[in-house]
Symmetry: C2
Amino acid sequence: MKIAILPGDGIGPEITAQAVKVLNALGESFEMESAEVGGAGYAAHGHPLPEGTLKLAKEADAVLFGAVGDYKYDTLERALRPEQAILGLRRELNLFANLRPAILYPELAGASTLKPEVVSGLDILIIRELTGDIYFGKPRGVRECPDGPFKGQREGFDTMRYAEGEIRRIAHVAFQAARKRDKRVTSVDKANVLETFQFWRDIVTDVHKEYQDVALEHMYVDNAAMQLVRAPKKFDVIVTGNMFGDILSDAAAMLTGSIGMLPSASLDANNKGLYEPSHGSAPDIAGQGVANPLATILSAAMMLRFSLGLTEQADRIENAVKRVLAQGLRTPDIHEAGSTKVGTEEMGNAVVAALA
Amino acid sequence: MKIAILPGDGIGPEITAQAVKVLNALGESFEMESAEVGGAGYAAHGHPLPEGTLKLAKEADAVLFGAVGDYKYDTLERALRPEQAILGLRRELNLFANLRPAILYPELAGASTLKPEVVSGLDILIIRELTGDIYFGKPRGVRECPDGPFKGQREGFDTMRYAEGEIRRIAHVAFQAARKRDKRVTSVDKANVLETFQFWRDIVTDVHKEYQDVALEHMYVDNAAMQLVRAPKKFDVIVTGNMFGDILSDAAAMLTGSIGMLPSASLDANNKGLYEPSHGSAPDIAGQGVANPLATILSAAMMLRFSLGLTEQADRIENAVKRVLAQGLRTPDIHEAGSTKVGTEEMGNAVVAALA
Ligand SMILES: CC(C)[C@H](C(=O)O)[C@@H](O)C(=O)O
Ligand SMILES: CC(C)[C@H](C(=O)O)[C@@H](O)C(=O)O
């Protein structure tokens, strides 16, 4: 089993190193190979997604990804900026299904800005379509405005779009995931305004006929943003498009107050996937040894479960993480009075120790 | 001064009646005329925005709008559904600037799902562009997918777009509003992915040159959704496009836990405007006399301030609302132990009494 390790920028290398350490401690034989990506890819090879990196990612059975982005690359032209790497990997590897759990560990309920009774025990799974929508739709660009009151001026424009098959496959992912959980899917759209999402609603409704044991609810995106703040525990699985999913999954992650704990998976049709923490590259704390490696370690667990078929090893990692939390170990981002503050490496070592 | 009163559906008529009562108690001579809109428009004239209603709205100096929507119209074809009325009014009246304050009254801090220290004293102004973006862009519809792996299938599609002049005018509104507040503007975009919003960022940056006394910050929409949950008080004025504004303004409103208190204004280039509560038509409680009329009453105050130039009368209403809150009067949506529960009409009467 070959794993591509793409540490990236900022805290990416430190947190990825801890996840690799945990993987090595499992007693399986993984072939792991690293490559530069993001700003590091640009610095080493002149492109955020160098050819060699893409080739490695394509050949591997799974990709473990750190994070990309750093202030020093902010002034590059858009095509060379670090985040193009992640967009490129999604597109090139057909990673259409992004799974982002928003889980609040009981020990960390205090870290949330929401009242404990509103969020304790939170366990939502957000499934975001990742290769369609306005992210990749064409045409797009800047042109002369063709009509209306602003005719003749410059205008920026993009194309939102979803084909039937794209909606069907992500709907299947959502209904199947719900079957392993509380059997409820909320499909988030804007069918009252957008043709794309009226179509989305129609197709999701059609796919639902094959899953009559799962409850389906449709919700407008503005209402979903409100309900996430008002009563987030009412959700089980949320499925939505790329753009709305970008916004809602980050909002849901922040509800927990502990985004440093949240993993994510981006899967293709054959369960090959890219796994990354839900948080970013945090260049402000990079290299200080204080970043929380748990989201990346939990991403590695998701990788074992979804792409490598090693369910027991995934369970071992997840249980080890629960154990270190129960031991009171906390990196600074989740530290509270009474708990023990540890650094990135100590946290990684503690998880390794807790695997036993 | 002529005011068009469009009560609409659900709780719309009850709450609008209270606002009209308050306006009548001011001792000014307003000419007020009512017309059906939304589901009520459809029921009376076969269209959610009947010709007569649109004509009245165009002739008036300002529009006071209740709310539209009811379950019984959910099965109508989209062009006849209640929300088309509000989209039609925005477009026909060129109401491009939507101002939505998210204010947490100190007395109501407990109503929020967020911890009091995170939200108490919250005072954000969200300025949402309201006549452009993917809401009205063309082409849109369902077509045959022209290329790519889904070629030949049906696909839903829409066009996102902003012309230079549209961005300039909303940026001016934002910077000018910030000058009367804490002089900080956060422009929310998705410049790392969307051409429309890279263009948006460039133009907002250019307009900012005329407002060097105001601080401008650019933020991606996913990050903005997170920061609204994490540290909402850091924002002063947020300016964004129609689609992102739809999502973020509802999320911000819900942070307060008292959306029944929040007014909104939608203005054209000459400060003619439509004023409506930020909440919806709540058909589940319609006709029970329990709806909170304060958001509509405060919308009437915004109308006096922005469209009718009656600043003092606007102040009188806003102070009266503060007084009834200080008296402990609460409709059920904001009721807590220790406060006095009142109905829609009692609340309206209390505001009238407090005007003195
Ligand atoms: C970096 C950016 C292009 C990306 C996105 O918008 O998808 C990020 O926000 C994410 O959610 O992974
Ligand atoms: C009803 C709907 C079309 C409308 C919108 O999306 O603008 C509403 O959500 C709003 O924010 O006023």
